[in-house]
Amino acid sequence: MSAALALAIFVAAYFFIATEKVNKVKVTLVAAGAMAVFALIPGSDVFFSEHEGIDWNVIFLLLGMMIIVGIIKQTGLFDYLAIWAAKKSKGRPYRLMVMLMAITAVASPFLDNVTTIMLVVPVTVVICDRLNIPAQPYIIAEILASNIGGAATLIGDPPNIIIGSRAGLSFNDFLIHMAPIVVVVFALFVVFTRVLFRKSFEYHPERVAAVMALNERRAITDPALLRRCLIVLGLVVVAFSLHTVLHIEPSIVALVGAGVMMLVSRANTSDVLEEVEWPTLVFFMALFVMVAGLMHTGVIAAIGTWAIDTFGNDYFSAATALLFGSGVLGAFFDNIPYVATMAPIVEGLVAQAPDPATGQALWWAFALGADFGGNGTAVAASANVVAIGIAARSGHRVSFWQFTKYGIVVTVLSMILAWIYVWLRYFM
């Protein structure tokens, strides 16, 4: 009975999250409250159980990175880089697109996708307006690049943070297992964009002077601040890569990094904390409680048992189903609640694996599917929604289908490449 009630609350909440009929933070808070009120999860577990309550490692890792990014975005670095790239490209469309994609894809693994997009899209709009060319293809290419690039690291994409915490995977694990395929997919994507956007490329040589008039040096008002911020960010990344040696959780690394960043930048605390996306953090907390309700009432275990019975010892089929299933579901629903729900189920499957390497392969298949699935449609990932919103308010409307027709192609290609990678690396 309690399992049915927990499932009913969860499905109802998921319906409202997926259809966006009600603000998703409100939905998850009400659902989490219902789980607690109906005693579907003990109150003590909500706050103090790492696996059947709120995963504070995820929350504080996100909080720390939001503070770090909030300070870095004030430095003007992205405006400098994008304008510099536009000048170097001399307005030639493919060259410009590749440079903007490269900036986005290199930043995404270290900053979160949404922030990267919020920094790159506005300057892209300005550059395209100066060149009198449509900004939509460039914005779409940047979104796709950010979702691909973000898959490379533990901190690059929220699904990776959830998976890393649940599976106990380190920053280096992600670098070793995810980064190689991300590099390959991104390289092929760069080549492919020449074909994908060929009809959208316009070149107006007479407009290049307007771009050359932009002064990228003025974007950076405090080079010393920029240097200090980059040094701290570099140290944070080094600390992430050493966190298993230092026996420090990634969340602690991020929090210490945030504190140091605030000290060296001499930023106003209130201003920096305003940059934190508090609704997102509350959404994550409530989501964890919802999933914990399913775990505590045995729903997750029942699904896990069904999955184990279905796949038996055929872990390659399980990895294939996880990769493509996550890609398809992640494309049509927000991939964060999807990953939060599926992670305990995958954990159950991994626990039955004959050896740790096979078990880990399932995690990588899951992460690749969820991350690359974020490119599938206009609503699949937060970065997509944010970028399309900025584009619309700038007068460059990107319709659902305009994005999706490119997104689906890139998602299918990247998932096929990921599947081949998983097969060759873990099951050959």
Binding site: V126, N215, A219, R393
Partner: protein, 152 residues
């Protein structure tokens, strides 16, 4: 004195009006802000003057002071021309602030406290159906307070 006693009729705009019209309405009427109403005449949001100015700044520049600095002077002088045909609705935030509203029987302390709390120099006065019946500007409120207050 109550809100209805000092409320005046002010021009309004709808979400479908071009931003350029909204700016013009505010400038010509020397208004401290604008009330955006829906088709039924109910206030959708009340924008202080600075937020009307915000509508006129292209989205790309709004949250990015570094990008504003990088723009050359000749283009910076003409930023508002980049708006094109964007409407007020296009430029409103996805979750606009709740309209700054009072009932007709609100006292002047209520109105003043609301203006101060929400940093809005303009308050919409609505009837029970939510329809706009007038507006109170900061100048109007201060004048009214001065009139009823003890003289020097």
């Amino acid at each position: 004195m109550q809100a209805r006693d000092i409320a005046v009729n002010l021009p309004t705009v709808t979400a479908d009006d071009p931003v350029t019209k909204a700016v013009r309405v505010m400038a010509v009427g020397r208004l401290p802000g604008l009330i955006v109403v829906d088709d039924a005449g109910r206030p959708r949001t009340v924008l202080p003057g600075t937020q009307v100015l915000r509508l006129a700044i292209p989205e790309s520049y709004q949250a990015d002071p570094a990008l504003c600095r990088a723009v050359d002077e000749s283009h910076a002088d003409l930023f508002w021309q980049e708006l094109g045909n964007l409407t007020v609705g296009d430029c409103l935030p996805s979750q606009p602030a709740r309209p700054v509203l009072v009932q007709p029987d609100a006292n002047l302390l209520e109105v003043a406290a609301l203006m101060a709390r929400l940093r809005s120099p303009l308050v919409a006065v609505i009837d029970r159906d939510g329809t706009l019946i007038g507006a109170i500007t900061l100048a109007r409120l201060l004048t009214s307070l001065a009139v009823v207050g003890p003289g020097d």
